[in-house]
């Protein structure tokens, strides 16, 4: 019996070696993100978005790319395990990690070991701070917070502003802080600041009542769309109808299955990607994604798609091949990232030496269940 188990184990080990064995000449990209657990929606979107880009690139012939996606369950320790897995596989660079918390842990190791990282969606500045080899496809949190305050002030959207943010999330807190700084500069009157945490994200009656009693006529929501959908529903129950203003995390609310779109009527958000955009690039991507996965891609999928194309551009310019070691690839990619300009789903992107992306956020308002650009 023991021998039998040993044989099965040996087989399994041998199989696992074949599972991600890649063809000769492919450039190996490790992908790390949560594909199970509460944050799985983001990791799966990135994995799928990246795969579409890789399939397109490989279909062109020429340079071939291989992905190895590993699950980090949105956990710092498991992120390090996933990082070790992709490095053992022979990854030459990393697309990831998807969420901020594991990204901070993994990027510290990647900095020590000189592995190039491009994160599609971890937007905290802590991810890139002091690391020359980590780049972002998404906006940093401060950029979003400041841009939102600027936009609200410029367009005189509100006299009194309420905020509901998640104080257990680096993403939400980061945007909140810079929003408050910019709001003070611009003399925006913030009358209510309320918080919630990941463990307490179902009942928002207290937060809504606080904003309502303070007379806020706009509520800023620097949070993801799942709690946002609850806030919209509960504000309606409380018969309170201010303007709701979100950031990129709000994107996806309209594609939430079963969501009553009338709740989102008049919601404004700053986002770099809209699945309803009419350009050919977006239409092609959305069609492919829908065909493969039967759902509308969100911003994370778009960021991952753009991330692969950014890597592709930098790899081509730097002349990286399957034989280039990850240390060499890292230095070459750092030099190239600052030179390239990529036209992607989320806009035209260039990168600063800090790793921060430069692209223009666009404001959209939800009218009759679709995004409408605001001039």
């Amino acid at each position: 019996m023991k021998k039998f188990f040993a044989a099965v184990l040996a087989m399994a080990l041998a199989m696992s070696c074949f599972a991600f064995a890649s063809a000769e000449g492919e450039i190996k990209i490790g992908v790390i993100g949560p594909t199970t657990g509460p944050a799985a929606v983001y990791g799966l979107a990135v994995e799928r978005g990246a795969q579409i880009a890789v399939d397109e690139i490989n279909a062109l012939g020429g340079l071939q790319l291989a992905l190895n996606p590993q699950d980090d369950e949105n956990d710092a320790e498991k992120g390090i395990n996933a990082y070790n897995d992709v490095m053992d596989w022979g990854a030459q660079m990393i697309l990831g990690t998807v969420t901020t918390t594991p990204c901070i842990a993994v990027s510290a190791d990647a900095y020590e070991e000189r592995v190039f990282m491009l994160t599609p969606s971890a937007s905290s500045t802590k991810v890139i701070e002091g690391k020359d080899n980590v780049y972002q496809v998404c906006f940093t949190d401060p950029a979003q917070g400041a841009a939102s305050a600027q936009y609200i002030a410029d367009h005189k959207l509100a006299t009194k502003v309420g905020i509901i943010y998640n104080n257990a999330s680096d993403y939400s807190v980061g945007i909140y802080q810079t929003f408050m700084q910019k709001a003070a500069e611009l003399n925006l009157d913030v009358v209510a600041e309320t918080t919630f945490s990941d463990d307490n994200n179902a009942d928002f009656s207290v937060q809504i009542a606080e904003c309502k009693n303070a007379g806020a006529d706009l509520i800023f929501l620097p949070i993801y769309y799942t709690p946002a959908s609850m806030i919209l529903a509960q504000a309606k129950t409380a018969e309170y109808a201010p303007v709701f203003f979100g950031v990129d995390g709000m994107d996806g609310i309209l594609t939430m299955e079963g969501f009553d779109k009338t709740l989102a009527e008049g919601v404004m958000l700053l986002t770099p990607f809209s699945a309803d955009a009419e350009d050919d690039l977006t239409k092609n991507f959305v069609a492919k994604y829908q065909q493969a996965h039967n759902e509308v891609p969100n911003q994370f999928a778009a960021d991952a798609y753009d991330g692969v194309y950014a890597l592709y551009a930098a790899i081509q310019n730097a002349g990286i091949t399957a034989e280039t070691s990850y240390e060499e690839a890292c230095e070459l990619l750092i030099a190239e990232m600052q030179k390239i300009e990529v036209v992607g789903l989320t806009g035209t992107m260039t990168w600063a030496a800090t790793g921060e992306v430069d692209k223009t956020p666009t404001a959209v308002v939800i009218e009759n269940g679709v995004y409408v650009g605001v001039k």
């Binding site: 929606v41 179902a202 609850m230 129950t237």
Partner: protein, 294 residues
């Protein structure tokens, strides 16, 4: 004053959702003497079945809820048969760990079947909001239905365990499993029935939870499940009225704590009160003190 009243109403609304989950928890604990940590996830499955029934198959809300109850009942009995029955003689720790494993199994199965994307649950309650005090105090239809459902369930469970033969068998099994078996009670069938009822209640709880707080995802049941477990302990685990009172108090404390102390400390406040109650009265508010005879 008005804001205090509206916080109170919101607290009762949240608490009655905890209460309805706690009823199922408490009943299974009281009779099978095991903590069914998968209870919260059966709630989530109930939510998904109702979602599918209303959104994909176009069934009316009442039929959807009945369908969810049916599926959850079958699921509860199967879980009990496959995962808990073989461990009847094992230590309670082994059963507890199996229950936690079952909880993860259900969550990940739901993710495989329905995907990780959250779904927005359309409320099955179609009762208009009630306006009190010149429209300054609102009570939503969901709140009224949940409170009503709690009362109906509590009364019928009390009657069932007090008056019917099956109910009396349940109480006998709860008191002394060995002696009950000697008296000719089929212990396994009784425990299966407990799981069936507990899981049907979980389906109702799932529908009401998602109607009030409409984001449905594979982890929807886990946090309310833990809070409801706390509520059951708070009220005296095993006691049916205790679960109701514990649940509602927990919701009210949480909301008032959030409103008047800090939105960040709502949960800390809840658990601090729990610690105090357990220090003063270790069996919970309505728990009975059982003297062990040697």
């Amino acid at each position: 004053m008005i804001s205090f009243l509206s916080h109170l109403v919101n607290g009762i609304s949240l608490g009655s959702v905890y209460a309805i989950i706690a009823l199922g928890y408490s009943m299974v604990y009281g009779i099978a003497k095991m903590l069914n940590f998968a209870h919260g996830d059966v709630i989530m499955i109930g939510g998904y079945i109702t979602f599918c029934a209303t959104q994909y198959w176009g069934l009316p809300p009442v039929v959807s809820v009945l369908a969810a109850m049916l599926v959850c009942t079958v699921l509860g009995v199967i879980i009990e048969r496959l995962a808990y029955k073989p461990l009847r003689a094992a230590s309670s720790l082994a059963v507890l760990i199996t229950a936690i494993g079952m909880s993860y199994f259900l969550q990940n199965s739901a993710q495989l079947i329905w995907g990780a994307n959250p779904k927005s649950f359309p409320s099955v309650v179609n009762i208009p909001t009630l306006y009190l005090l010149d429209g300054r105090l609102l009570i939503s239809g969901e709140t009224m239905v949940t409170v009503l459902a709690n009362i109906v369930i509590m009364i019928s469970l009390t009657l069932f365990t007090g008056k019917t033969k099956m109910g009396r068998a349940m109480r006998a099994v709860s008191e002394d499993r060995g002696a009950a078996e000697l008296m000719g009670i089929n212990v396994n069938a009784t425990i299966s029935l407990t799981f069936a009822i507990g899981s049907a209640l979980a389906a109702v709880a799932g529908v009401l939870l998602c109607s009030s707080y409409p984001a449905l995802m594979p982890t929807t049941g886990s946090m309310p499940g833990i809070k409801a477990f706390t509520a059951a302990v708070f009220g005296g685990i095993g006691s049916i009225p205790g679960a109701l009172i514990g649940g509602i108090l927990l919701g009210v404390i949480e909301i008032l704590g959030k409103a008047y102390v800090s939105t960040e400390l709502g949960d800390a406040f809840v658990f601090a009160v729990l610690i105090v109650v357990l220090l003063v009265k270790p069996t919970g508010l309505l728990g009975k003190k059982v003297h062990e005879k040697v």
